[in-house]
């Protein structure tokens, strides 16, 4: 029984790691802010989810699992909102820029 659990845990943690790496890679490689926001929020949230799943198998007490799930929920909520705000701010900057070199 534990071997299967152990195997599953490693797979989950590796998956989490993979998503974190792709998220940061996207952050570095993508051309403008909008695409970077996609990379960071989406990939890291999934990575964190997998990480939480893997770690909860490790400890198997429901308290720490509930706590980690709460943290994950909170990170997703704050990540999504700040991504929205940043994108909106960037769009406003671009609009001002295009307006200024439009009438120049």
């Amino acid at each position: 029984m534990t071997v299967a659990l152990e195997g599953l845990r490693i797979v989950l943690l590796a998956g989490g790691l993979f998503f974190f790496v792709t998220g940061s890679l996207g952050l570095l490689r993508f051309p403008d802010t909008y695409t970077r926001l996609h990379a960071v929020t989406k990939a890291d949230n999934v990575g964190l989810g997998l990480l939480v799943a893997g770690l909860s198998l490790h400890s198997l007490e429901w308290q720490s699992t509930a706590l980690m799930l709460l943290i994950w929920l909170f990170v997703m909520a704050s990540g999504a909102t700040s991504a929205q705000l940043l994108a909106r701010y960037q769009r406003e900057q671009d609009r001002q820029e295009s307006a200024s070199n439009g009438n120049r």
């Binding site: 704050s78 909102t81 929205q84 705000l85 909106r88």
Partner: protein, 310 residues
């Protein structure tokens, strides 16, 4: 487990030092501030690693959170300047720095092993039961070395007074049209986040007597709530001229000082809490300190557009 710890430590220390060096020496200012926020988080991780939860809480709330907010605000005012890295005789300077580091390191290494019997920590854990609280750090902060904490509340108050002096010569009072109306999304998010922060702050304050937490961490979290509400336009401009704001900012030091004087006059000595009332007194002082820390830090972070008609 030994290798895992070694990998973790080298990663943390390597990250810490490279981010510290990069923060000071990158070209663009915005990159420097982003690195500084990251540095604060890595430092909070290191405090947790060194089994210091109180510090991890305080560092995350104060170091990474409020300091980065302050830096962003200051950077938005300064013209976006890419600094010219002084490269004159760079290697000579770094040679000198490494030499000084080696000299310091040789001496400090002698400290890493605890040879002499250091009685103070055992003294603290021994005396904590009759100090009114169970968590030793809070016992030291609010009972054994309460005089330090009182003076330190005055430090916070004085930073605010210095802040006020500058505001009095400030020819940029807050005008609503200059600031864009906050977006509905930001308003909704801050309205849902603020109660969560207040509850967490209250919880940290209450837990302070038994487990890591306490006045400073709770005050910083509450200050974050105040700043969030202020920046999203739900709170009016912080006005020092209104006496309620002043009372809130002064309750901490004033109550602490009056308890000190009261204990000197009625009790056995300066800051010598009567045994049966020490828990009540500590909780009272801690909550007053939390209120004044929250108001002072919120003022320092988001209190800039002050009306000069005071």
């Amino acid at each position: 487990m030994e290798i895992a710890e070694a990998v973790l430590d080298t990663a943390l220390i390597g990250l810490l030092l490279t981010m510290a060096w990069a923060t000071l020496h990158t070209q663009r200012m915005s990159a420097a501030i982003a690195l500084f926020a990251g540095f604060g988080m890595v430092l909070a991780l290191i405090w947790a690693r060194l089994r210091a939860p109180d510090l991890a809480l305080a560092e995350a709330a104060i170091g990474a959170g409020l300091t980065s907010a302050l830096l962003l605000r200051a950077a938005s005012i300064t013209r976006e300047e890419t600094i010219r890295i002084p490269t004159s005789r760079l290697w000579l300077r770094w040679l000198f720095v490494t030499a000084v580091f080696a000299w310091l390191a040789v001496h400090v290494l002698a400290l890493s092993t605890l040879d002499g019997g250091h009685s103070l920590p055992e003294l603290v854990t021994g005396q904590t039961p009759n100090s009114g609280v169970r968590h030793p750090v809070t016992a030291v902060l609010l009972n054994f070395r309460a005089w330090d904490t009182l003076l330190e509340l005055l430090v916070l108050l004085l930073a605010l007074l210095g802040f006020r002096q500058i505001a009095r010569h400030n020819r940029h009072p807050y005008d609503a049209d200059h600031h864009p109306a906050p977006w509905p999304l930001l308003k909704a998010w801050s309205r849902s986040l603020a109660p969560l922060l207040v509850v967490t702050g209250g919880y940290l304050l209450w837990r302070g007597s038994d487990d890591p937490g306490g006045a400073f961490q709770a005050g910083a979290v509450l200050a974050a709530a105040l700043v969030l509400l202020r920046l999203s336009g739900q709170l009016p401009v912080f006005r020092w001229s209104r006496w309620t704001v002043r009372l809130a900012a002064l309750t901490g030091p004033a109550l602490f000082l009056s308890v000190a004087i009261g204990s000197a006059v009625m009790g056995e000595g300066w800051l010598n809490y009567p045994d049966n009332a020490s828990t009540l007194l500590i909780v009272l002082i801690e909550s007053a300190a939390t209120v004044s820390i929250a108001v002072t830090l919120a003022f320092l972070v988001a209190g800039e557009e002050e009306d000069i008609a005071e």
